[in-house]
Symmetry: C2
């Protein structure tokens, strides 16, 4: 059977686009963190939507599971197959054309394998921006961003990936192509298929192309690095900023001192922007399409008011682009620094914005009594109520993978239960993948799980599309 | 059987909440335009989600169709049952509580029967706005707005209803309640059920409550009434405004001279804001949360630039709130004036923004040769590419309903085909209802129709939820 499948695939694409040697497949079968590995009969690299369609059709005919893969930067082991599998990984990386860029319509049409940073660059050439911004932007692909409804640092102003997509082209589990690539701003003709595929983690079909919203490019901006005493002050400061600047706020990121200390220690050419350390730091960015908006002066006025209200301990406004970049270098180096520093167990909590301080306090207290050896480091997309709650362990303590997994499960349970008490979620922006299927089963109601299964059965009745992801094992 | 159903319902709600007398049922069975009537065994007026759940469960047990109804302002006959039916209309009008308002989270939780204007008022009390704005806001209900993904005049800045909903509570076709009432800004845990129910026109379940986004209230605004020579100038002006004002543009509405003339003729206390008539008019509104934004001056500068570029023929900036209201009175009186004036056949076209001028030119030429007796009046949400293309006939010519329906079908086909050529849609914001099911069958691909049917069968296998709406007859 394997030979038959491989021969069939080699007839559909150039033979060199079917990888079977272990060393060729390896990078496609290992997750981003390097902690998990899966198996597959082969990795196929189609170059067109039609090729994707043919591959999926051929696999469906033979009952072979299909695993779509973008830049393989999933934080939830969503992009690789399970161990022991003999399915086909379909990498979208060769579908990397930008099909159209339209300034008057503020839209682009891109293929799934476009690297996010290349989409940024293409928008830039016509004085527009595509505002999805995240740490992996140099290697993640838009198809993966769409399939996981990626978040990042621009959500407060521009929304999640879901909010940036006007239309999709999808290869369905039976190999048929759905052309939903419209660039319309309004279209009320039937059920919302687009949003069903966005965030479905490739379990309902393979996104092959997307129509995206782009936006006028800001011509003025201002950045501040702010020290605050506690998360409550951060939330009050956010309210003040929202009432003052509304959509001019393009980022409002909060980090614990512990997180910033790790970056400063591990990443060359970084230094604390303030003269004295503070318990919490906030990086704020304001933007405006008017070059005359004078945002730096407005930011200064707002920070003075915040200081008078006792909301901030210290702050520095960037006086140059280089200084602004130095603030962002610290923020963007978090994942890399944490990897160097120890073994971080990262939880992707979301709570209502007003509940962030209460959640952090309760979680810290619980961690202190249950896992006193862990150092808590926190990175928040505060405007979205999204708290990356990271328990950092010494590498020596969690060297044993079995122990690490046990600790991870216990810790997830502890903190996810607290998030649920605050009306929150255990996965704000990272999705489910293989990693959080158990949590989905625990925290979702029976009604909701029934609907998930009904939708999966309706669109992928054979269950061949990215099996083992998102849905709990039944 | 009818008696059994009625007795069952009377046991579930107070008996006076079950209407069976023809005169009591009449207003629930007649569509907004008064052109279509349907039939039902009864109209039930539940007061709680639990009552809705019990009613739907009881109907499901007996195989009785259920027709959810909000304010009954559908423009596509989506809110009334078909003629000859013996199902149950479930009016949500008594579920009208505002359950929560949260300033720090910028969210509200409201029941489905809340009238849109009451939601505006509730947000206003905490210095926030709920930005969904449309002509029927004094009588339409939020459950209907959500079920039809209503658009309106604020979409350019704030998005469609879909973009304003954080979470939903829904009674499913089997009577179970799905509690998805979260107020989270990010939650990537499984398929996007929320967006599936939004715009589903009550065919997958009954929305009983919603968590909504609210926004900081603008503290400065500016309004202009602008005359332009043609739609192309309107699109160029929109681009200039977007690059200058971005999210400060809260409305950008274009009307043909023919439309404004009808309003001026039929609506008391209206007068043209300009000294000379122009072929097209644009009403623009700018808003900012900063009271010191000085938008009127900025608007003046931008209009001067537009005049230098030859984009505008004439313009007046409102010098008072009363004058701004007089601009909006003309815009908001369109439906009422058209009703008085003749028989309007309204098409709800959406095309990419840059295609609006081309679409209008082509449609006008086709109408001129096929329906020369019709007067074309146009109201555009220009920033959304949404063209309300209205063919106005003399009341005497279309007095015969059979003739009116025939003309309507022919005219729809003519103009919808042109919209499709421009990459557009035949229903940008009004939905499908009973009126446009045939068009859905015509313009959607087989792949897409198959997915629609699969989703309907997955969530409403008995087909009892608002039958006869949205999906084409099979």
């Amino acid at each position: 059977m394997s030979t038959q499948v491989l021969d069939g695939l080699r007839a559909l694409v150039t033979p060199s686009a079917v990888l079977t040697a272990p060393e060729d497949k390896a990078s496609y079968l290992t997750d981003w963190r390097g902690r998990e590995k899966g198996d597959a009969l082969c990795v196929v690299l189609p170059s067109t939507t039609q090729e994707v369609s043919s591959i999926v059709w051929a696999c469906a005919q033979q009952g072979v599971p299909v695993f779509p893969q973008g830049g393989n930067t999933s934080l939830c082991v969503g992009a690789i197959p399970s161990p022991g599998g003999s399915g086909v990984v379909v990498s979208l990386s060769r579908l990397s054309r930008i099909r159209a860029v339209d300034k008057a319509d503020n839209s682009m049409i891109v293929e799934a394998g476009c690297i996010l940073a290349n989409i940024h660059a293409a928008a830039d050439t016509i004085d527009r921006i595509f505002p999805l911004s995240l740490g992996a932007e140099g290697s993640c692909q838009i198809g993966g961003n769409i399939s996981t409804n990626a978040g990042g640092t621009g959500v407060l102003r521009y929304g999640n990936t879901r909010d940036l997509v006007l239309g999709l082209e999808v290869v369905l589990p039976d190999g048929r192509i759905w052309n939903g690539l419209k660039t319309l701003r309004k279209d009320n003709t039937g059920y919302d298929l687009k949003n069903l595929f966005i965030g479905a983690e490739g379990t309902l079909g393979i996104v092959t192309a997307a129509a995206l919203k782009i936006f006028p490019k800001p011509k003025d901006n201002a950045h501040a690095w702010i020290g605050v005493s506690d998360p409550g002050a951060g939330v009050s400061l956010l309210s003040l900023f929202q009432e003052t600047f509304d959509t001019k706020i393009t980022a409002f990121e909060m980090m614990s001192k512990s997180e910033v200390d790790i970056v400063l220690r591990h990443v060359p050419d970084t230094r604390l922007p303030l003269t004295q350390p503070q318990p919490w730091y906030i990086v704020v960015e304001l933007s405006d399409v008017q070059s005359t908006a004078n945002l730096t002066a407005q930011l200064e006025t707002c920070l003075q008011l915040a200081a008078e209200k006792g909301l901030i301990a210290d702050a520095v406004i960037a006086q140059s682009g280089a200084q602004a970049q130095s603030f962002w270098k610290i923020r963007h180096s978090v994942s890399e620094a944490n990897k160097d520093h120890g073994i971080g167990i990262t939880l992707d909590i979301g709570v209502p914005v007003s509940q962030v301080p209460g959640f952090i306090a309760r979680a810290n207290a619980a961690m202190q009594s249950t896992f006193p050896e862990a150092e808590i480091v926190i990175v928040c997309h505060l405007g979205d109520g999204n708290v990356h709650y990271i328990a950092m362990f010494d590498k020596r303590d969690l060297r044993d993978p079995a122990k690490r997994k046990r600790v991870q499960k216990d810790l997830e349970r502890l903190v996810h239960d607290i998030a649920a008490e605050f009306g929150g979620t255990f996965s704000a922006e990272h999705g489910i993948g293989q990693k959080l299927k158990g949590e989905l089963a625990r925290y979702k109601s029976a009604v909701e799980l029934d609907m998930f299964r009904a939708l999966k059965a309706a669109l992928d009745p054979a269950g061949l599309m990215n099996p083992g992801k998102l849905l709990p094992d039944s």
